[in-house]
Amino acid sequence: MMSERDMKNIPAEMFEFTRRDEKIHDEKIQTKAIGYFMDAWLRFRRNKSAVVAFTLIVILVLFALIVPFVSHYDVTFREGYYGTMLPRSSLFAPLGFWDGGKRSVENQESYEYLKSIGVETGRPVIMREYDAYTDSAGLTYHTVRVDAYQRVGYAYINLTESEYDALKAYQDATGTQVIYPLPATHSTGYLLGNGGANFWYKLKNEAHTTTGGAVLDENGDFIPNYLTSDNPEKAGYTSLKIAGDDGGADGDAWYVYAQKNQSGYKVRVDYYEYFRYVNGQYPSFLFGTNAYGQDIFTCLAAGARLSFLLAITISLINYFIGSIYGAIEGYYGGAVDMVMERISDVLADVPFMVVATLFQLHLAEKVGVLPSLLFAFVLTGWVGMAARVRMQFYRFKGQEYVLAARTLGAGDRRLIFKHIFPNSLGTIITGSVLAIPGVIFSESMLSYLHIINLETSSLTSIGTMLSSGQGYLSTYPHIILFPALFISILEISFNLFGNGLRDAFNPSLRGADE
């Protein structure tokens, strides 16, 4: 029917205008536009492991930042008597773990020694007794759980006269006894006992290097063996006294609480209480202490701050140098590229160890250890970033939209920064993040090997902490455990996070893992 009609000569009246009273235009896009970063974020969010890793990183950073405010100690804190303390958390201690205790087998002599400290201070050193056995030679061994904090017991300290009076005043004000009478035993040759300060009881063998065990009374109790004096002036003690000291009432025995020496007084203090007197609280170290008595919890946060600071600074500097260098290389190409590429090739081939050492030898004294390490990382670190940017420039500079922009009169700078560079942003951000674990690892390795020395009174690094714990690996593994755990979690998180970023920015590379 249609074919019968004359299609070439359709009469004008058959046409009619449509939508005469409307403006005709493209339909407005109803949904919101998704930009580059939004797009990446949407993809990143779906990657569960990367999100978890990112959360972990945030937690670790917060740990590094918050610890100095909540910790009772600072990096400069050192307390020799509380060296190699085991980790203790007041939260978990009542449950029987993370309580600063350690299971050990003690012979009769040291068993009595540990027990005696608890008897005198009133705070048991032996937290739990498991069993005891006697071997064929007649020696008895006890399996016990020993409280590392309490086993420190007593120590001799020297106080000036005013310090001595202040301590006595403190005792009277708080009602806690810190100063205890001096024991009569003076041998310092014992393997145990803080220079003999812990032997307040009668020993079978007073003069030799082994104590020979305690002399017990008929009830099996320790017999006190304090230094006494018949001269009350010499004792001259006006503060708290131990139970049973009635001040020489039963004849001539005054317990001696202090001995005068050149600088003041030598006194014997309950170190646990003395620590509280000095530091304001009882010793308790969440992650324990190292051999110098530094709080690992605090030092770890300080080391982490240093690592983060170093890694992020280096990453940012490399980001800038690398992108400018790479952009010039990639954009101009040709001879410029050739020359610049050779320079970066040579730099990339210098082993990092050589660079770090030479910078350390040349600059450490002039500008400090940390800046010279920073220079060493920057000198070779930007090469990888430059290569990435160069690659992106080669990919994009020949594309039509760049040609179009150039035709419209865009200059080099505009082309580089406005049109091509944004395309490499994702790669650069990914590269910067993935470079961070490398920097942290290298820094910890160099300080571990003592090639750089980041250990000053107020500065520490994770590598230094690891190396300070290495000699105690078999006896006190906790010194190494926490820094090692920290750096492992950090490395894993940064790698996962970096991979997640790469997948998000560049979905075509997903799963390529390289």
Binding site: P351, M445, I492
Partner: protein
């Protein structure tokens, strides 16, 4: 191909030369440490210094440095450690330890890495693959010294299976004795974890890409079993990329690991290097730095060249 190899090698020596020069100048700018009085070879060291022109300008010293190396292969003598001994001979004496430990570790790492990688690729996106990939991620990220501490604590100390440190040559008898090997096991395990993880990741990525190729479909359609198709086609093609990496690893064994040698007391070149830095023995430092630079360059070249040799389709250095 030959032209490419020659070009690469020449370029390598040029790079090495530049790095050596920079290193030399920077070391010479440092104040010269005094010869230690304790050694009985002090005169030997002083004579050597005279011969190497230590009191002459740097340019002359530089000339003498090259002259000694090219004519006599003389890298100087130890000044702060191994006083009077030739640097080169001490290095050669240390090298076997490093090479042996790293060789063992690679030999056990390669089959494991390939095995896990192939397994994960074949089970791609199943739970086995996810398990392997997660472990790989963990093992690749954790620093090697953390393994070393864990191994040293549990295997050496708690279980007492291995000695804490490497046996000395005198107590073990020979470098190849069982006793020596046993004391090397902790070190080679700590070194191996990372290599296994890296190789697994690489193999998995390569093989799973190859497995999606059209020729794999063809192989199955023409009647090969899955095992045949994988072993004859997929693995071979995946190896093109994996093998150069393995070869590169073999060059790398000369360098060893500084930190692992330090932890397990292996008297290898890594330890020597660390010591030379710590006691500021610049002759050792110079020679060892050149050594490490060379290894790095050489493994890069061998890696690149082996691509071309294994798969002639890949023409390295050609325009397209």
């Amino acid at each position: 191909m030959t032209k490419y190899i020659v070009k690469r090698i020449l370029l390598m020596f040029l790079t090495l030369f530049i790095i050596m020069t920079m290193c030399f100048v920077l070391v010479k700018l440092l104040p010269l440490p005094a010869v230690r009085e304790m050694g009985k070879d002090i005169n030997l060291v002083l004579a050597k210094r005279e011969k190497m022109g230590y009191n002459k300008p740097i340019m002359v010293q530089y000339y003498l440095f090259w002259k000694n190396i090219i004519l006599d292969w003389d890298w100087g003598v130890g000044e702060q450690m191994y006083e009077g001994y030739s640097v080169w001979s001490v290095m050669m004496q240390k090298l076997p330890y490093t090479v042996l430990v790293n060789l063992y570790s690679i030999l056990f790492a390669i089959p494991l890495g390939l095995g896990f990688g192939i397994y994960a690729a074949l089970k791609k996106n199943k739970w086995q693959d996810h398990a392997v990939s997660t472990l790989v991620m963990v093992f690749i990220s954790v620093p090697s010294y953390v393994y070393a501490f864990v191994i040293q604590y549990f295997l050496c100390f708690r279980l007492g299976w291995f000695p804490l440190q490497l046996e000395s040559l005198s107590s073990a008898g020979s470098l190849f004795s069982w006793k020596m090997f046993r004391s090397m096991i902790p070190a080679l395990l700590s070194l191996g974890f990372g290599t296994v993880a890296g190789l697994t990741r690489y193999t998995r990525a390569e093989l799973s890409e190859v497995l999606t190729g059209d020729y794999m479909l063809l192989a199955r359609t023409k009647g090969l079993t899955k095992a045949q198709a994988i072993s004859r086609h997929a693995l071979r093609n995946a190896m093109v990329v994996i093998l150069p990496m393995i070869i590169g690893e073999f060059i790398g064994i000369l360098g060893g690991s500084l930190i692992i040698e330090n932890i397990f007391g292996i008297p290898g070149v890594g330890n020597l290097y660390i010591n030379s830095i710590n006691v500021r023995d610049y002759n050792f430092f110079m020679a060892m730095s050149v050594f490490y630079t060379f290894i790095g360059l050489a493994s890069g070249i061998v890696n690149d060249i082996s691509y071309g040799l294994i798969d002639p389709r890949i023409r390295m250095g050609s325009k397209k």
